[in-house]
Symmetry: C2
Amino acid sequence: MGRTVEPRLLRGLRDILPEQMHARQWIIDTIRGVYENYGYVPLSTPAIEYLDVLSGSAGEETQKELFEVVGPAQEKLGLRFDQTVPLARVVAQYRDLPRPFRRYQVSPVWRMEMRPNEKRGRFREFTQFDIDAVGVKSDIADVEMITAMCDTMAALKTGPFRVRVSSRRVLNLLLPYAGIDPDRAHDVFRVLDKLEKLGAEKIRLELTTGYKDESGAPIRGLGFSDAQVDRIDEFLAIQGDRRDDVLAQVREQFRDVEGAEVELDALEAMSQTLHTLGYGDDQVVFDPRLARGLAYYTGSVFECVLEDLPTFGAIGGGGRYDDLVLRFSGEKVPAVGTSFGVDRLLIALFELGRVPVRKSTAQVLVSVFDRKMMDDYVAMTYELRRAGVRTELYLGNPRRVGKQIEYGDKYEVPIVVIYASDEKAKGIVQIKDMAIGRERTAEIADRDAWKAERPGQFEVPRDQLIPAVQKLLREIEGEV
Amino acid sequence: MGRTVEPRLLRGLRDILPEQMHARQWIIDTIRGVYENYGYVPLSTPAIEYLDVLSGSAGEETQKELFEVVGPAQEKLGLRFDQTVPLARVVAQYRDLPRPFRRYQVSPVWRMEMRPNEKRGRFREFTQFDIDAVGVKSDIADVEMITAMCDTMAALKTGPFRVRVSSRRVLNLLLPYAGIDPDRAHDVFRVLDKLEKLGAEKIRLELTTGYKDESGAPIRGLGFSDAQVDRIDEFLAIQGDRRDDVLAQVREQFRDVEGAEVELDALEAMSQTLHTLGYGDDQVVFDPRLARGLAYYTGSVFECVLEDLPTFGAIGGGGRYDDLVLRFSGEKVPAVGTSFGVDRLLIALFELGRVPVRKSTAQVLVSVFDRKMMDDYVAMTYELRRAGVRTELYLGNPRRVGKQIEYGDKYEVPIVVIYASDEKAKGIVQIKDMAIGRERTAEIADRDAWKAERPGQFEVPRDQLIPAVQKLLREIEGEV
């Protein structure tokens, strides 16, 4: 075979082992439940898109993070970095899709993140779970995105959370207010988006003269005057726990800015609908500072944070992007969407201890005490499976009993079935409740000592195996 | 915005639109149900692996089909072409995983297929759903793979199918029988694997002198003698509907070949276990010609075909690969696995009309007749959702009633709720069963004509909306 290849992964990529996968599957199923309750339909697009479809859609930052791929005839391709750009392509490509087109999609995306950080959930490959409503101008669609985020968080039992809401159109008012050319909107918002990460001081420097970061690399300043930045700072200082209160402050500040009233009235109406539906200030807050990095947003923007992990950053977010389909079809199609970071949610909920932890899929492990009785073990295994009990037959090396019990213990299989020639002669089978006396079992190495004690173990007639296991499972699962 | 970008995909890549996605999700959920019933645990690995991990594991053919990716520091990377090689890497990398390690994984894989063919389900990106048992020598594990395939096909209600089974170790006996050097085993099997695709004549030519294919490209011959190929042909001629019968023919042919008896006894024992468990000759057949292309197989090989689509090719398959982990760890770890092609299954079952077809997720569409009553529509929508009814609020342009009914019709939403100022004044709401009089509705353009007929429509008090919808849904879904 020659020399071996070192088993390893590129930084920022990771394997998700079974214990985390069980939780992850539960997260995905739960989100799917909420999105389907809202009537969204599923869509799948390939990971690989033409490079010109991906590039230029979402701003420079994303452009730099593209993983490029070469096609069989040297076609320039890339891996999708989000699910929104491929959706815009789909809407432009299939003209007979119903409108509104309201779809959900869950799949991995790839970004060549320069500083991946597993603990903070910053990966180079991560799974997003999105809903988007395309062909929808009504603000009710934006409200629906926000309530879907709230309902998902409630269904996941994440503990306290906040959906922070703002609007690019309100943020745009800041430009005339501070005397900044509207053409520079994206530059300004890109910097403001880093407020939480970098702090107010560095933001001010980046808006004015620039500075050197920790590595000594120069960060170019945008060259705004102190007076301009003072006005931005006034705006950034707005905050409050009640949506009405925040809106009043923004109204006061922008009272002389043309066009402010209509935008703020729209936000107020959204807030009112949210209140009527029961989404109060404890769930949804207005945060006028919220920018969200992606260049394609044109209206409302929102993100969701866990109150108990204040420094972890958003675990989901989205906004309105009325111009994205235009790139592909020349047709202006209003759209709004939101996305959960499944892998970020997984990391966060594990850290908070708020996911159901399950190591094994199997509810029963049929152990093998005597290789000559393999036909009996196989028969039991399939009987249990056909009764709907998730069952594993131990197929490792069966020499040592202790090793099989250890294996069941490591995977936390709730029940082990034990059957040797003694049991066969007596027409019985042993059922072992693994939770009882789990500590004891680990200490018992050989079969004789183990047989003497048998913690949590009882016998039933062989033909009562199925009902006895089902009864015990009901008891065990009732306890959880 | 400048010029538009043409919305398009590379050949062999495809979008899966909602109607197919509903069926695909059902396929995945069904397979997952069977695999979990067998007690397999979920695993996820990233799409991107180091190139040296992927290359050289599965033979030349696969090597040529790798999509390469370049990392942030010019690392040589590639997209996985299967889920088995990444699994072998995982087993070598995480030494404290329990053994046996029995995992399932469902994710896309990528192969730079030179002749993609959508109709035959040959894609460049496709999703596989695998189970593998690693650290398992027992043939019972191989039996389990075969029964899991059968149980999956039964759960999917695919109609008649066959799992064809053979063994590389039996195929290996063909080499001494035909006087061929064992070092050339892989060359021979690679050619035999193409038997069904190319026919007996071309196989003979490729084993001997070579030939030119349709494009005129020379296919190199392996240079075996006619006498050698006659012996191979004798072997290839073996067939039969009963496993016992096929085994007897192989026994007869290899009666003088050293080591044949022990291999054939093993196959016979597997067959016996399958019979005992109820997997008869109608589900599992022996086909000694079956080779399966991948270079890493070392023992049993199997694949599953749909009897009603005889030319479609296998929709799943697998085998034993005892040497794959060795590449990464230097440790020999016996393993066996099987894989369904989810996208191939989807295409095949759609062609056979054997998938549940559903266009909408929503069970109810709340239509919008009067923009001033939006608060009422929003309230109804959330009431229905909170009662567990999958509900969509129509958020397209509400000007024309007919357009909304058309929309509900296109998506085949079973129920539309109708509520205008008349209804509000009377304290009622209209419920429309869309299946009744679907044809009539399409012909009715304006509201007055529509109001006169109202096919399949009835009214209930507003406060009876939820129970009335739930009752109608039970009736509709009972009909299916």
